[in-house]
């Protein structure tokens, strides 16, 4: 009896002949829903692969990738110069999906979407505009009866790519934006919710609330979203196609690592961004080819899973660029 138990312990090793490749990844929380869908779908395509992804946040993913404890990382913002320098091995960014930051609000009896400019958004978020019926707001929304209510600003309390993209947009478009930009900033007014869910809860429960959040969450909950004036002067509704539009300038001249915030294109929603997978430029053959196969699949067949989950599929031009980046990844033998 004793020995049968001992034997049982060895059973896993007996099957290691056709060992499944176990890939370890970690990083951004924002694309987690899409990624886990991808991993489960991909395990049906290639049954020998098991991908393990922990959504510990972009920062954590980058830190662990630099230390070399992961096979791939994931981030909502491109790695910074000093982070790239810290890594011993060169790292490649692969865009996987697109998203946008939308502005949502809780105003009773207002069914038409609000129209906003970056100047007005910035002034609400740094506390200069305090009431919903501020002249600057009513001037933009002449056919909407805005109430004399306090604007309750709601922001993301935890560090997040959503905040990074949103503050980057404000810093880029408004010279007098003093709050700064990054994954967590010191907001002068308002209340903070933890995670998109926390912000969502606060917006739904607080009359007069005004918040930024990931597009998927707002769409999923059917929250009202403001139309934002883009560089070309049009008020653009955040939709799958208007977000895709903002990535269409990516090509041989403009790398996808550059920000696509405040796009010049006519129909582009101005607060959009990529989410990236981060992989080493040189990988061991055994793991490398599995990762490359997965990325190829994600960039082609995988894209169709985006829309039902409220992620924006990449446009053709970005996919072309991403695929050529994948071709540059070098595989080497473990023995060499």
């Amino acid at each position: 009896m004793k020995y049968t138990l001992l034997l049982l312990l060895f059973i896993p090793f007996a099957f290691s002949a056709d060992k499944p490749s176990l890939i370890n990844g970690a990083g951004a929380t924002f694309p987690y829903i899409l990624y886990s869908k991808w991993f489960s779908e991909y395990s049906k395509v290639d049954t020998t692969v098991k991908i393990n992804y922990r959504s510990i946040g972009s920062g954590g993913g980058i830190r662990q990738l630099i230390k070399g404890t992961l096979d791939f990382g994931a981030s909502d913002v491109p790695m910074k110069e000093y982070e790239i320098k810290k890594s011993k091995k060169p790292i490649v960014h692969i865009p996987t999906t697109l998203s946008a930051v939308v502005l949502t609000y809780n105003l009773e009896n207002i069914t038409q979407p609000l129209h906003l400019t970056s100047a007005v958004i910035a002034q609400i978020f740094d506390g200069r505009i305090k009431k919903w019926n501020d002249p600057q707001l009513t001037a933009l929304n002449k056919n909407i009866e805005l109430p004399a209510q306090d604007i309750i600003v709601v922001y993301r309390a935890d560090g997040s790519g959503t905040t990074a993209v949103f503050t980057e947009y404000l810093a880029k478009t408004q010279e007098d934006w003093k709050v700064g930009y990054g994954k967590s900033v010191n907001w002068p007014v308002g209340i903070g919710g933890k995670g998109n869910e926390g912000v969502l809860g606060l917006v739904q429960k607080t009359p007069g609330a005004f918040a930024y959040m990931g597009m998927g969450y707002a769409m999923n909950q059917k929250l009202p979203t403001a139309h934002v004036k883009n560089q070309a002067g049009h008020f653009i509704e955040p939709t799958m196609s208007s977000v895709q539009e903002s990535a269409k300038d990516v090509g041989p001249r403009q790398s996808y690592i550059e920000s696509i915030v405040n796009s010049k294109r006519e129909k582009a929603y101005p607060i959009s961004s990529f989410s990236y997978l981060l992989v080493y430029k040189e990988m061991e053959e055994s793991i490398g080819h599995v990762i490359i196969n997965f990325i190829q699949w994600a960039l082609s067949d995988g894209q169709k899973f985006s829309e039902p989950l409220y992620y924006v599929p990449l446009p053709e031009n970005v996919i072309t660029q991403a695929k050529s980046a994948v071709k540059n990844i070098q595989l080497k033998n473990a023995s060499s």
Binding site: A157, D158, G159, G180, K183, V185, G190, G192, K205, T206
Partner: protein, 318 residues
């Protein structure tokens, strides 16, 4: 105070059978592992927080700014938020908890005491995220609309009731915390009251005291140190509570006097920012906050242990 000697009454270790000695040593190692884990934890937190403490010095604990964009970090707003929310929670929870403990121990009939005890234990078993969600979706709207509306209307000259109607903020956090620490405080109070010998109570009743006088003199006065210990234990729990507070406090590092303004606690800023902190200084400052929280909790918890332990010892000696 002399600590109890563990092996005084047993034969010397050498005289014990080998298997018992082995057993003793194995258990000793396991017990020491706890100490080692504790020491490793302290060491790690301390080492990680050195860069921030070097950069900002002692002023780290007196600086109300927390700005990761300007890389200006100070823990004062978080220390303030932690203490105010916990003390407000104590103010609400202590009278209720002592009342509950007295009622359950001394007054309630058995058919009522049993289900009440059960409910009290269930309160302690609810995960803190559930308290947080309840605070966000049920409590905050109540605080916003009747409570703050009323206080803001008639008492707005006081600095405690100012501010826009957020609903969440210091007040919501304090109420949620209070509900969370009631089971802790009242169950320890119950233990303290139980350790008071019934001969004391009978003696007081015997000289003609009413039930209330008996409770006041024998139970409350006799168990005073233990009650204070129970309160400090509750304080310890409130200081470290993370998830529920994070959901309802508004997460804004500020030094406002108003009960309705958002604030930030040490535990909640760690929960919020640690995962996505980019710069080394940001990470190190967060660890320094953790170090401060750790030291404060250590002081608070150990003082409560000493107080409760003393009460029980006092009566067990007779």
């Amino acid at each position: 105070m002399p600590l109890p000697k563990l092996f005084n009454s047993y034969p010397k270790i050498k005289e014990i059978h080998i298997s018992d000695r082995l057993f003793f040593h194995i258990l000793q190692i396991l017990a020491l592992l706890v100490l080692a884990a504790f020491a490793a934890l302290v060491l790690l937190i301390f080492l990680e927080s050195i860069p921030a403490l070097k950069k900002f010095g002692v002023s780290f604990f007196f600086n109300p700014e927390w700005d990761s964009w300007k890389e200006d970090f100070g823990a004062l707003a978080m220390v303030w938020g932690t203490f105010i929310s916990s003390i407000l929670a104590l103010l609400i929870a202590v009278p209720i908890s002592i009342g509950v403990a007295l009622f359950l121990n001394e007054l309630a009939p058995v058919w009522l005491a049993k289900p009440l005890n059960f409910c009290l234990e269930m309160l302690a078993a609810i995960p803190s995220i559930v308290y947080g969600l309840w605070g966000l979706f049920v409590l905050a709207p109540i605080i916003r609309s009747p409570i703050q509306e009323f206080l803001g209307k008639y008492f707005s000259f006081l600095p405690f009731f100012k501010g826009p109607q957020y609903g969440i903020g210091m007040m919501s956090a304090a109420v949620v915390l209070a509900i969370m620490i009631i089971p802790t405080i009242s169950s320890i109070c119950k233990e303290v009251f139980r350790s008071i010998p019934s001969s004391h109570k009978e003696a007081v009743l015997g000289i003609g005291a009413t039930k209330w006088e008996m409770l006041k003199t024998a139970v409350l006065t006799g168990g005073r140190a233990g009650i204070i210990g129970a309160c400090i234990m509750g304080l310890g729990r409130a200081l470290g509570e993370t998830m529920a507070v994070t959901m309802v406090i508004g997460n804004k590092p500020s030094l406002s006097l108003s009960l309705f303004e958002p604030a930030q606690t040490m535990a909640s800023i760690l929960a919020n920012q640690y995962a996505e902190a980019d710069s080394a200084l940001h990470l190190s400052s967060l660890t320094a906050v953790a170090l401060a929280l750790f030291i404060i909790s250590l002081i608070v918890n150990s003082s409560s242990f000493i107080l409760v332990w003393n009460t029980q010892k006092k009566f067990s000696r007779g």
